[in-house]
Amino acid sequence: MRKQMLEDLLMVHGTNPQNWPADMRASMETCLKSSPRFAADYAALARLEGELKSCLRAPAAPALAARIIAATPPLQRTYLPPQGLSGQERALLAACLTGALVIGAGIGYFIGGGTVDDSLSRLATAALYGGRALI
């Protein structure tokens, strides 16, 4: 193995043999043992890595997880009809929803004692209940 190749491999994979490619490890180790010059280059690179490791140490942020969780707003997911329905399935879904509305309105009408002007809100509520029960 040439010096340049060894140096490139060390630059890319670092000086820890555990990170070296399995198929190159044995020849890299032999190469390092064979020449004091290679060993010196390896030592210089290991020093560089040591210096780099001492840099960019992130400080502690013990409250970060709690801060993120506290800052996360509750979900506001709106109802959307299921995706990928065929035309026929969409028509069926629309028919069910309309049917539920009509039945709900009917129940509301009877609860209201057959008078339309009795309470429109009661009618609407019953329609909603009827619709939800059917859906």
């Binding site: 630059m11 890319v12 560089l48 780099l52 840099c55 960019l56 942020a61 970060l64 996360t72």
Partner: protein
Amino acid sequence: MSSAEDKRSDAALMAAIAAGEQSAYAALVSRHSMRFFRLAYRLTGRHEDAEDVVQEAFIQLWRAPHMWDPAHGSLFTTWFYQVVSNRALSLRRQAARHPQEALGDIVDSQCGAEETLNAKHRRLWLEGRIRALPERQKLALVLCFYEELSNHEAAEVMGIGIKALQSLLMRAKTTLREDINSFDELKAGGRG
């Protein structure tokens, strides 16, 4: 069960988050917030910015968990490294346009009393050189060297091929080695 004790895999937690389970979200945040904070800190150089970046990334995940699709084959962490690094680098670019805001706490309070002035000076200088690396080289170095991702994972995070990643890594380390050599030569020259 506290969120830290949740033993479910990241993928299982993400599925639960998609179903609106808040405890799964809390577990995922507890498990990974520090790891991604370290990444963001190394890329932005500011504690507050790094916290903001990670917080925004997690909130985005909560609102739109389907943005990670396990069917694409990447791990949750690989995908989230991408999200956080994109946000951090974008913030860094904005800060670079307003240099007075970019100084921040790069020189932080971690220099213990035990560190000699020389060593401290050298470390801060080297940190400055790392931060001055071109964006892609810096990201490659942070992912592979500091975050200890495999070259394959780092390449996936960066959306580049393995050869391109290796080339970025080599250029970054070569530049830093040359910088250190010139620093040492200057120091030796100053003494002589």
